[in-house]
Symmetry: C2
Subunit: 389 residues, 2 copies
């Protein structure tokens, strides 16, 4: 094992002098525009407004709010959300939960099924460490694996396929099989159901999203009802995302919602949500880039390319006023091509971009640069970056 793998369960990444340069900028006027790029930059005013708005909406709707950490992967963000009223966070994978737990986050729902003996042992170790951990299952064998590994009581939820077809039991009969398997494990306690419609989140139009949610919630309710009749009554129904919040609240089936992107926003959500209530969140997260070559007549080259943005969503869009409307194109692994604005552009100029899809974009960055206005105020590690295991 190389010396780069460090300590009990940490990985040390050495040789990042640009982080020292960034650190030295903290508190300086105009420092937002001198952060080494490419960089993930979080505008605190916009972020705090987003966190407060979602917390208020959930309160008004009587829904427990459990924001999804797969969007941010960051213990500091989780703490802000919990302080604003969230009951805890969701993590997509066990490794994401482990990384956030190591950074002090408690109250975690792992939203993907855990498969196999080795992950079951990791889940059991995590459960022994936290006061509140919740694990989803979609197969009877998962109950046996987790039950065998458990060192004490573990709360579990049955994951229900509400139409996405990704994970989850498909019908009440499969749910009952899982419920019985959970019941056979003395250390497992069935506390609820999860039904997440990822494919609904970016549907354009509030009515389309509401109709999709309604059909999916029928499936979730059917499972709840069948379980209840068999003596497995559960009241906790969790699911939902940023795009379906209004529909989730109106349906009144879910008791807990799992939005993630609302804290940051991205172009994909902006395009889908438009003027709908769910579109009221601000673009708080930007990727900052620098013009590194300006020798061409029609475009300039920035230092942010395929390794700076995910490419699955819409193209990044320039937020910096001077470059508004200037088209961005990927220009290889490490560069982007940005159409020239009317005004002259010099090498060294800065451009901030709204990313196309926030989750797989932010998962590429080691740290989040917190800014207030034009000032860099702190640098926060993204502890669960890359933790998809």
């Amino acid at each position: 094992m190389d010396a780069g793998l460090h300590g009990r369960d940490g990985l040390i990444v050495t040789g990042r002098p640009h982080l020292l340069q960034a650190q030295a900028l903290i508190g300086q006027p105009g420092s937002r525009h001198r952060i080494p790029t490419p960089a993930a930059v979080l505008d605190l005013d916009a972020f705090e407004a987003n966190v407060a708005l979602m917390a208020e909406r959930a309160r008004q709707a009587g829904l427990a709010l459990r924001p999804h950490a797969k969007s941010h992967k960051c213990a500091w963000v989780a703490r802000q959300q919990i302080e604003a009223g969230a009951v805890g966070v969701c993590c997509a994978k066990l490794a994401e939960a482990e990384a956030l737990a190591a950074a002090g986050v408690d109250g975690i729902l792992v939203t993907s099924p855990i498969v196999g003996e080795a992950p079951a042992h990791r889940a059991a170790a995590l459960a022994a460490r936290l006061s509140d951990i919740r694990i989803v299952l979609d197969h009877p064998d998962a109950a046996a694996e987790l039950g065998a590994a458990a060192r004490g009581p573990i709360q579990v939820l049955i994951d229900v396929d509400v139409g996405l077809g990704r994970t989850g039991v498909r019908d009440p009969a499969q749910a009952l099989e899982v419920a019985h398997a959970v019941g056979a494990q003395s250390n497992l306690r069935l506390i609820g159901l999860q039904g997440y419609g990822g494919h609904w989140q970016h549907m354009a139009g509030a009515n389309a999203r509401a109709a999709a949610v309604a059909s999916g919630m029928d499936r979730l309710r059917a499972v709840q009802s069948a379980l209840s009749q068999a003596g497995f009554g559960v009241d906790l129904l969790t699911g939902g995302g940023t795009g379906t919040f209004t529909a989730d609240a109106a349906q009144g089936v879910l008791t807990e919602v799992q939005p993630g992107s609302y804290a940051f926003m991205d172009r994909e959500y902006r395009d889908a949500l438009g003027e709908d209530p769910e579109g009221a969140f601000q673009q708080s997260l930007a990727i900052a880039a620098t013009v590194i070559s300006a020798n061409q007549p029609d475009w300039v080259t920035v230092d942010a390319g395929l390794k700076a943005f995910s490419t699955d969503g819409p193209l990044p869009a320039a937020l910096t006023a001077k470059f508004a409307g200037c088209g961005y194109r990927f220009f290889g692994d490490e560069h982007g091509r940005l159409a020239r604005p009317a005004a002259p552009v010099a090498r060294g100029e800065r451009v901030e971009f709204a990313p196309g899809h926030i989750d797989p974009t932010l998962d590429r960055y080691d740290v989040l640069h917190l800014v207030r206005g034009d000032v860099l105020v702190d640098i926060i590690p993204i502890e669960a970056r890359g933790a998809s295991q």
Copy 2:
């Protein structure tokens, strides 16, 4: 500054118990198939053959080989390439060079222009630390910046646009301006020219690539000739990639080549190169995934999605024989959808995939799992992962 930012210039990533589980597997029979997933897995037999084949071809062609580290970001890989005969490595960005230098790599050409005072100071610090560093410039101001920051002699190359239009001087007149600016700095020494045609690398057909290279090399030679007439004679001409190796060797203009992907390969290169000589490299790098849900009749869900693969190239393709030809689709941030093969599939089964585009895929992983046959033999940190600054 959070405790997560650690030490002089290192970042410590804590909470990765799956790495401990992987470490405990080293040397065990069949351990390749128990590595926590998603995981980057390097087949050493195929990798070593690729490294040896490119080294031999460069030797036969009389070309210096300087593999591009943007594909691997890994000091261990750089060392294997240098031990096989490479003269050093290329790094796309200064931060990539800093991360590899911190891990002991010397002999580095930074292939993107460095812009601004703060990066110039980092470049100067790196030059003071290494015995052989080379920096490209494409603007006179860059010479002034680097010259002002230099603590001692620094070798520089003029980057020449050979048709890609991304970075580089556009013509001999611009090159002369940069050469004069370099000449005005007592600490800078002009040693060569760089001309890289990234857009040629994935052209289908050896003849198409050869024609493109020929036209680009004419531009490079014109710059070399104009500089020579003005008293700036340089013999080192560097550029080229995995796809154009044969054409670069045949043209005889470049004296040094910069291929990167040959060590690992990916679907994008496989599709473009086919049976051409450049296609002789093996797929040595795989992304390993696990079936985490198998409740659907037509597909199964694996734990590798938008955060496990880059999405800019072709779709990932299953390498595991049982799943050969089964179509993969992205299924959200953390999951993929894989068509069922004829044989039954159980949750927990493993699938290895060839990634679509290796560079931005591997840049998502903390470590590389080295395997020999079915045995995990070591785990190597990817030191420059995410280092695009």
